[in-house]
């Protein structure tokens, strides 16, 4: 597994919002590549442009300057083969859990029967088999977010992007969700972009961590996580893990130090 193919290529990507108070430069001059099958986390202080960057990659926000290329094709808008998970589960309250999971199938006019099986399997994987016919209002926040994960995975997208998917959850549910996500990657690796405020979560899940910061915001630090997969459940207790978290914390606080590669 040496030279992996590039999934996403960002070249001098910038975003300037035009607001009533004048232009706001949210992201400036980001150049990087995300490799096929890598799970990449993005850390950084609030307001540093993480969501903006992800929205540009998803094609939901226009790119002011620069180019994003996905598997050789320039990104100009949303694509159906990208799974998206937001901070809120964003389920449709009148649909059952199962129908919410199958919502992308309906939108893209694919045969429901072919995906029914997969929907059952995904819900079983996140432990919601018994709740298939419940309404979202009958579920807890963590359960709803699990449904939204299933929805993002139903079409088996090669790229999954998540914007602080677990930040509204309590610590215990959050740990469970992290393990569930590790499990999903274990069974079916895909490219992942994951935004979080939690350093430990980023290190636990990722193959690579980016830190954004500065004004206007850039990628200030790019670290490879040297742990292989499958990752043992107790990896978060190991000294290497804690050392890595400590280093990252320093980079976030200093906000400018650039590390090329920690794993070598």
């Amino acid at each position: 597994m040496t030279a992996k193919a590039k999934h996403l290529d960002l070249w001098q990507v910038s975003k300037t919002y035009q607001s009533a108070q004048g232009p706001v430069e949210a992201v400036s001059d980001v150049t990087l590549s995300i490799e096929e099958g890598d799970f990449v986390s993005i850390l950084g202080p609030s307001g540093c442009g993480k969501s903006t960057l992800m929205m540009m990659l998803a094609g939901l926000e226009s790119i002011t300057d620069g180019v994003v290329v996905e598997r050789g094709r320039q990104v100009t808008g949303p694509r159906e083969d990208v799974g998206l998970i937001f901070q809120d589960a964003t389920l449709l309250p009148w649909l059952s859990v199962l129908d919410n999971v199958l919502f992308p199938v309906k939108i893209l006019k694919k045969p429901r029967n072919e995906y029914l099986r997969r929907a059952h399997d995904l819900l079983a994987m996140v432990g919601l088999s018994k709740f298939e016919n419940h309404r979202p209002s009958q579920l807890s926040g963590g359960m709803r977010q699990r449904v939204s994960i299933c929805r993002a995975l139903i079409l088996d997208p090669p790229l999954l992007m998540m914007d602080e998917p677990f930040s509204a959850l309590d610590a215990i549910t959050r740990d469970e969700m992290n393990l569930a996500l590790l499990d999903i990657w274990q069974k079916n690796p895909k490219t992942g972009v994951f935004i979080t405020h939690s350093i430990r979560e980023a290190v636990l899940l990722s193959d690579r961590v980016l830190v954004m910061g500065g004004r206007p915001s850039k990628v200030v630090c790019d670290i490879k996580i040297p742990f292989g997969r499958p990752r043992p459940d107790d990896i978060a207790e190991s000294p290497e893990f804690n050392k890595l978290c400590g280093e990252l914390k320093q980079y976030i606080q200093s906000g400018h130090k650039r590390t090329e590669d920690v794993s070598t």
């Binding site: 094609g59 949303p78 998206l84 809120d88 964003t90 449709l92 992308p104």
Partner: protein
Amino acid sequence: MPLMVVTVFLGGWEFTVHHMDIPRSLLPAPSYVYERMRTTFSPLMTNAWPTTLETMVSFLIATVGGVVLALALTSSTLMNASFYPIVVFFQLIPKIALAPLFVVWMGIGSTTRIEFAAFMAFFPVVISTMAGLRATPGDALRLCQGLTATPWQVFFLVRLPYAVPYIFSGMKIAITLAMIGVIVAEFISAERGLGYLIVFASSQADTALILAAILILCAIGLVLYGLVALGEWLAMRRYC
């Protein structure tokens, strides 16, 4: 409790009329109104039917038209900027004053009454549906956008269901206004319907018949409102 109040009220009314010898043309006793209702039951019914039908048709036109216009107005900023103030203007003016104009322009037929009633009922539907269509959470819209949903899909699968409670609150106002519209148009066009019957009875000083007609109007109004409320209940179970 309300039943008791009504009984006492009717009893008091009956008693006062008999006791004080009030002439029938001024205030007939409830028992006589009932009597009059029984003897003129068939003309009451033949006139109740067009009123009910015209109310329902104009209500349907107002609802469908209102939802469609609301969709058009929320779909583009230009449309919204040009037409929304006009909608609010019509919502605020006393539209009932325009009834004679409708008759002058469009004659005294059933179509005129339906058009006028639909005109009365239309604006609350537009305004509440617009509020509903704007109430879709931004996240849900972003989800659809990310799935490359077409505008029609977004409208029918997401925005319309989110707007259901708003649309029904508009419809509940619309059904009452549609009925008022039909009755007023019947007053003026004087062709048929319970409104016409009321005008006719008042020219004969037949107060008992007026009251009988009003009673039937109340019953129709309550049933129609009840149907809309039932529809709302069903839709809310389905969509909320």
